[in-house]
């Protein structure tokens, strides 16, 4: 790791002010992605601004037809929250499936979505649950937040403060996980809001995307078998040592079926 100066602001305003003072500052969430990156010397920030002691970034509350989760809420806190388990159980179970116990004890919602790993789990929930990402300066619709592989709509220095998820009538997340890292080879989040069905796919492409054909099919006929005829194109999907693009395309349909079944 290259040397840096470490800061621990107590408010979002202080974090914003600190960022303005340094040449190449970087925000530190739970560190479960950033610290491994720094250890490999893949980045060389001048300053690390730890968001861990800012009360405004923490906590989970019911608000305006959904749940607001602070950016510095750890995966384990979402997984074990009584409110999340009651209001959007699929979100609690998604969080419980991230990485391992120790990663969940440190990693945060804000860090996960800002990192925008193509195989991360939370992006599927942000898109399927019609979320709104709140920052220090504006609100961004979940549909517009993820713009590419490891890319988001955030401006340099913009701090995510919370995410508001809308409560669906029913929802479920199914993932085919990499057995070593537990990241999603393919993960599909299905959410039903009245007559609208949203199907968000992570892991398969460079960034989370909605499967429009499946959404239309399920809006007509919400059964796993309705997806039997659905075909998913492998064009543009990720291919690596873990799975070819064709296999990922196949998994999208299988995970979508499992998610629909789990919706009950």
């Amino acid at each position: 790791m290259y040397a840096f100066t470490y800061h621990r602001p107590k408010s979002v305003a202080d974090a914003v002010a600190l960022q303005g003072r340094f040449e190449d500052p970087k925000l530190l969430g739970g560190g479960q992605t950033l610290l491994p990156t720094l250890k490999q010397r893949l980045a060389r920030p001048s300053d690390l601004i730890d968001l861990g002691q800012i009360p405004e970034l923490q906590g989970i509350r019911e608000e305006a037809g959904g749940l607001t989760v602070g950016a510095f809420t750890r995966h384990a806190q979402v997984a074990h929250s009584d409110v999340v388990q009651r209001v959007i159980p699929a979100l609690a179970s998604l969080a419980e499936g991230i990485g391992d116990r120790q990663v969940r004890n440190m990693g945060t919602l804000g860090g996960s979505i800002c990192n925008a790993d193509p195989s991360a789990d939370y992006p599927a929930a942000v898109v399927a649950l019609k979320a709104t990402v709140r920052t220090d300066r504006r609100e961004i619709a979940g549909d517009d937040f993820f713009t590419g592989m490891f890319e988001t709509a955030l401006e340099p220095g913009e701090i995510v403060t919370a995410v508001h998820f809308q409560t669906p009538d029913k929802a479920a997340y199914a993932k085919f996980r990499n057995p070593a890292s537990r990241y999603a080879i393919v993960g599909v989040f299905v959410a039903v809001f009245g007559s609208e069905v949203r199907v968000a796919v992570t892991g398969a492409g460079p960034s989370v995307f909605r499967a429009d054909d499946m959404e239309a099919t399920l809006a007509q006929d919400f059964r796993a078998d309705a997806l039997n005829g659905a075909s998913v194109s492998a064009d543009g999907l990720n291919a690596d040592i873990h799975a070819s693009a064709d296999y990922r395309a196949h998994l999208v349909r299988v995970m979508a079926r499992r998610a629909v079944e789990a919706c009950g």
């Binding site: 790791m1 290259y2 250890k39 990663v103």
Partner: protein, 165 residues
């Protein structure tokens, strides 16, 4: 630039000057001499470095010492009683042959104690899931799982079940 970090480690208050980029595991091993916490992979995968921060298990190779400022840290050295009596989970690992070379053991035991504290009577499946962040190259895990199940019972106040063999 050096900074001062202060925390409680195994019940004792410590305060030291460290470089800001110092990892918690480096601080524990090199500065405090607590070499029971191991470094296996250094890439957040193996769990040999697991310690407790305010009761929660974390990988100390993926945390800065500065992030632990003000926290209560427990390492494997802090589990046994002052007179050397092993913690029930440590005793269970010994009784059930939950180790061979022993390299992964400190992390396994620390993860197991966190897991059982949160879920006092876990099923075998829950134990296996709870240890996903810990890799062992020797045992094939079966005896580790048996040890954790027996350790869980003993932590609830039961007597430690003897190994089957």
């Amino acid at each position: 630039m050096p900074c001062t970090v202060s925390m409680t480690v195994n019940g004792k208050a410590v305060s030291r000057e460290v470089e800001e980029r110092t990892l918690l595991v480096t601080f524990l091993r090199d500065q405090l001499g607590l070499t029971g916490t191991h470094v296996g992979c250094d890439t957040s995968q193996c769990g040999a470095c697991v310690v407790h921060i305010d009761g929660r298990s974390v990988k100390s190779c993926t945390m800065l010492a500065a992030q632990a400022d003000g926290a209560a840290v427990t390492t494997i050295e802090g589990l046994a009683a002052a007179d050397g009596t092993l913690h029930p989970m440590q005793a269970a690992f010994r009784e059930h042959h939950g180790l061979q070379c022993g390299f992964c053991t400190p992390g396994m035991v620390m993860s197991a104690v966190d897991l059982v504290t949160a879920n006092p009577s876990p099923s075998e499946h829950e134990v296996r899931e709870g240890l996903e962040g810990n890799i062992c190259r020797c045992t094939g895990y079966h005896n580790i799982v048996k040890a954790v199940m027996a350790g869980a019972e003993a932590m609830q106040g039961g007597t430690l079940k003897a190994a089957a063999e």
